[in-house]
Amino acid sequence: MTIAPPVDLSPRLTSLDPDVFDIPTGREVEWRFAPLDSFGVFFQPINDAGFVTAIESSQYVRNIAMADLRSSWLPSDRPLAVARSLAQNAVVVEVPKDCTVAAPIVVQLKGSAARSYQHIEVNIGAFSNAVIVLEHDLELDICGAMVVNVADGAKLTMLSVLQGDKKSTHIAGWHTTTGRDSTFIGCAVTIGGGAVRISPSVTYSAPGGNAELLGLFLADGDQYFEHRIFVEHEQPNCTSRVTYKGALSGSGSHTVWVGDVLVRRGAVGTDTYEMNRNLLLNDGPRADSVPNLELETGDIVGAGHASATGRFDDEQLFYLQSRGISEMQARQLVVRGFFAEVLGRLNQVDLRDSMMAIISRRLGLPAAEATDV
């Protein structure tokens, strides 16, 4: 028996200094799929860049000067380090401890110039429970981070929706830290943008944390979407579930999903599973799917991954059409059904329905039918 050499998922370089990171050339494993002519604009400092703000402040949402922000987060690549060093504004979403926020906190984000830096900090106090919806309307190029802290015993359900044009460039690093016995459910809905690269990562600061990372993306035309997930299990008895589903159409669309899960020696009792499914709606698009699992301990509850990319199932289409449903509508039903599993795991009926309505609109289906999933 031969033993494959381990994929070394650690250590990852982190620094506030952009120059610690080499300028990507496209030969690096982290950048090998990416269109650097789009992302490259954020590799060097942009002096006339704008910044991302929350359009409306509220009890929970504030815009503050970056200088007033205390954040221990360290960027893990060059564009994020450049953005961190030049961002002037931070959007802060803060829920105090022991607080259950009934309605979703909706944060609409807007850039102030053609190219803008973003920094978002989300802090959920101990034993609080909140739902946050972040809405990016992509018309501008944006680069930056979102740092999320879910304190002990808290639960955060977070939905980030990228809609908008099919030209803009978007680079985002999302880093979540979960406290003891806390729960984080994060869902990325990526529909808009020309070149999008999102890097969600999770670390656990104490035992008993739960993270569910969900994602769905719908790429057509020449859209490029990359989701690069990293879950690092350092603490005992934590769980992670990663479920991303993508549908691709058009002639030149390309999606990349990388799911890295690292279970460190001390993370006994870990339970992790990651899954990516891609549905090619026609010939032409390309979907890359790369799951990596590295275990430093065998004393775990479970660890697994699955990845599948497939064409549209002609038998499903025949079955639906044989019941009088037109080919177009049958395809839409199948794609909506494909995504329903991901949205169902949000456990938020209203959010599920509004996301399904957005997907249906994108698929050209009347939104009124979308609530009847």
């Binding site: 002609d314 499903q316 059409q321 044989s322 019941r323 509508q329 909506r336 039918e369 009847d372 999933v373």
Partner: protein
Amino acid sequence: MGSLALTDLCASVITDEGELEILKGVSLTIESGTTHAVMGPNGSGKSTLAYVIAGHPKYRVTSGSITLDGVDVLGMSVDARARAGLFLAMQYPVEVPGVSVSNFLRTSVTAVRGEAPKLRTWVKEMKDAMGALQMDPSFAERNVNEGFSGGEKKRHEILQLSLLNPKFAILDETDSGLDVDALRTVSEGVNAFREQSDAGVLLITHYTRILQYIKPDLVHVFIDGRIVKSGGADLASALESEGYEQFAPASA
């Protein structure tokens, strides 16, 4: 009085290795209100017959015709055939993950009837139809065919038959994989459909078992891609006692 007429129908299956002729000249006319049974051994092409009538893209009609009330069917898309009044209860219904039975049925009924049923009457109609087939109401919330038992799949097919109310229904081995109780329930569903409508039914089966519950007006023996003998219900009894060997091609 309508009819579904197959005239000298020849069809091939399209595989990676090329085309293989399966139907070798089938002529059959089913009048409204009558039930025909097509019986044949495995591999005789009887399921292909069902798929070709429904328009499955895997098969190519090389010659002959299919008409529904005198209108050409072969030029129609799969969904147009269903809207014109054809229905195929499938032997192996496929799973459609994430699509609930209720959403699927409503979408399908809307397409076939040409307008969406009123929500309140629809819910009652669906519940009544499910009750008649002894299906639990929670069934409507499950995903289409996902995790269904063999019996549940067949009940779901007959449920669609009763809601879509076609002019002609083709039942492809609806009896396969059913225990006696499920076979009786499903057969009662088919019989209720026959009584309340003037539809023609084409029952495709390997065994005579289902014919104890659903009485055919005519029985056709199907061997090697064509009908070799037609007769009344008594022909099925002869098959039951003597088997298909008597009809085997001389060359075999």
